[in-house]
Symmetry: C2
Subunit: 425 residues, 2 copies
């Protein structure tokens, strides 16, 4: 099976345009720990995948999966201890206000629940998001997608500029002034929704603004934005699909950017590849949602989801992954920041824990998407898998499994240096 033949079969069976990474797509056959292997046996260090968060093919997760699927896997309208215990363990990882959980099969479904929950609880329709976000692919959640969108947000949705220090809406402003400027935009959006009759149901935001390119946020913005939303009667939804599960070196992104959500959405890393996501909130919010919707999700809240979800939490705790992510991530970010001073291509190095963005720029500091794509492909040819992201597509996105080690980081830095040399040379 050549890759060319497989590409043609894939285009027929899955349709043209099913997304593929890299100029020369990777034909992948095996994963183990932080490594992926292609059909020719070539080994790559996976620096992209956050779903297999405890590493590809982790034996403890595989064992939990086979044990539960071989014992019982059925829908949730029976009593089952495992799913209750998993929900209890998950809520204990949040502050006391987060008490109950609705499980779903995807981040999209979990964000659907969050939006409906906020709208039902407030009796209002208006949702505020950022202008470079992505929260999922359903019709309702897709309305929040501003990344690459041709139309401005409208109707029940208002997009505000994402807060950042690198290309701020008020150039040259102090941190405090910038914070006020972004808060003004949020206030405008709230008032706009109120005047339109939609009213404010809530703010939804990735806690670390991942799709926006992991910007440095003016100090205090997130907490004050949350206060402003609540003072206007809205709810704050933290989308932790990318930010959560120790990705940042803390359990949750909202601990890093310092705000308290009313509703927390989790997804990608929860099942190490098993479809599993969740919407957690106060019992009162969840009760109201359940009473109004009789929500049921066939595949969710299953014994399989619970067993695998528990196994992932086991590994994170047993292997000390949160602490490891904090240490390895800080060292990698520091090493990359050093390189920023030495290489004009690197406009900025940002991020938290093992979620780091390297901003690639032209000579005048403008975003250089083309060069970013070139770097991603060149590093891939050297055996390291990354991608590009951010509002301008010019951020090299580093987001490996949480088991990524100091040694892997050093190997990557050598390859990154060589890639920059290739390009400069």
């Amino acid at each position: 099976m050549t890759s060319t033949t497989l590409v043609a079969r894939r285009e027929q069976a899955l349709g043209a345009g099913a997304p593929l990474f890299y100029n020369e797509p990777l034909h992948i056959v095996r994963g183990e720990g932080v490594h992926l292997f292609d059909a020719d046996g070539r080994r790559y260090v996976d620096m992209y995948n956050n779903v297999p968060c405890v590493g590809h093919a982790h034996p403890h997760v595989v064992e939990a999966m086979v044990r539960q699927q071989g014992t019982l896997n059925v829908h949730s309208r029976y009593l089952h201890e495992g799913i209750v215990a998993f929900a209890e363990r998950l809520t204990r990882l949040h502050p006391a206000g987060i008490q109950s959980v609705i499980f779903t099969c995807s981040g999209t479904e979990a964000n659907e629940v969050a939006l409906r929950m906020a709208r039902m609880a407030t009796g209002r329709r208006g949702i505020i998001c950022t202008n470079a976000t992505y929260h999922g692919n359903s019709e309702a959640v897709g309305k929040l997608t501003r990344l690459g969108a041709e139309q401005p947000a409208g109707g029940d949705v208002r997009a505000i500029p994402f807060p950042e220090k690198l290309r701020p809406i008020v150039p040259g402003a102090s941190d405090a002034e910038l914070c006020e400027a972004y808060l003004d935009r949020l206030r405008d959006a709230i008032q706009h929704l109120e005047r339109s009759g939609a009213g404010l149901a809530g703010l939804i935001v990735c806690s670390i603004l991942a799709n926006e390119g992991l910007p440095d946020i003016p100090d205090g913005f997130m907490a004050r934005a949350a206060e402003m939303v609540r003072a206007s009667g809205g709810l704050v939804i933290a989308d932790e699909v990318q930010a959560g599960y120790c990705r940042t070196g803390r359990w949750w992104g909202y601990e890093v950017t310092r705000f308290t959500p009313d509703i927390v959405v989790t997804g990608k890393p929860m099942g190490n590849g098993l479809p599993l996501a969740a919407t957690a909130a106060s019992k009162a919010l969840v009760d109201t949602f359940r009473a109004r919707t009789r929500y049921f999700n066939t595949f969710a809240s299953s014994p399989l989801q619970a067993a695998v979800g528990m196994a992932v939490l086991d590994v994170i705790e047993r292997e000390g992954l949160r602490e490891k992510v904090a240490a390895v991530g800080a060292a990698l970010k520091a090493a990359l920041t050093q390189r920023k001073g030495r290489c004009a291509l690197i406009g900025d190095v940002r991020g938290h824990g093992l979620f780091i963005g390297i901003e690639i720029v032209t000579g005048d500091g403008s975003p250089d998407r083309e060069r970013t794509v070139e770097i991603v492909n060149r590093i891939k040819d050297k055996g390291f898998l990354t991608s590009n992201a951010g509002a301008f597509g010019n951020v090299v996105k580093i987001r490996p499994p949480l088991t990524f080690s100091q040694r892997h980081a050093e190997e990557f830095l050598d390859a990154f240096d060589a890639t920059l040399d290739d390009i400069d040379g």
Copy 2:
């Protein structure tokens, strides 16, 4: 762990109102083949669950799951042979016009894709469904839920009365007259959408009207409805989430009710409990959808979905389940139909293959939901798990794993007879 304690913990962790079956909920711990076992070791014949379609804990499925999760499970933006082969195998089970597949994690997500696909392809918004249907729990798909809805369908959605012979919209009409009467209602709905400016994007229908209570449909209605929709420029979406995968003794429900869909949605049984669903259509429809949306679904189209989906198809073919379902289902339906003449409680016996509805009525033939619920609970106490369904909640729903045998059917008939005797006596 008593059931009472577990109910209290469940209400806290999952919120009040997370749905539970039976007056005395079942505390379930194990499944094997067509059997489920409770915490006290009591064995039940599962006559409800269509998700574990090849039987609970089927070893071939478990083996495929562990092998793939232990080898590779990652998102779909790499080339992977397994997912392409699964899509090819799935499309080969449909007529030639169904060529390409978009995988998702749930029937809801797959119906979201189908609706968006129909709307994009036609450039129109209007969707027609039946007045007692359910296609999923997202905001967009939930607008089609008429079952128990307080509001009439409106906006871009029009609901038509589901076609049936038992309580038809024109009492006393011949079959041919009745077919015309229901087609008139469909024509009205199309014209209504056209006048409203929404236009007709498509008709979405469960191919065997499962949530409507498996009614006997006036002959020829479905094919003529599909023709009328296409003649008006709309697309026909067959929701095969319940009807498909040999449930009826044929591969697809549309073979039973005899129409040709443009878009086919499958879900529940595809992964024997692994979240897995799909939207299949012509390559042209899929290409257009992909080009317009750049659709990506993190957990879907994964090597795990493909391996498990393949294993389910293996078992269905190797164990001859389609033929078995046809034979066991026909015998069970015939045996229940005999009882209809002998017992005034039984108003009707309907269905296809191993999806049978027993309509429970009062003395004057009106739907008797209360008595239906009583029967379902009494049969459960005798060791057989069913549920109630239908537009009036008065249909005992029989929908066991496809491996349900003649012997299980005979055991059930004994328990059913004893239950009717208990009630009559």
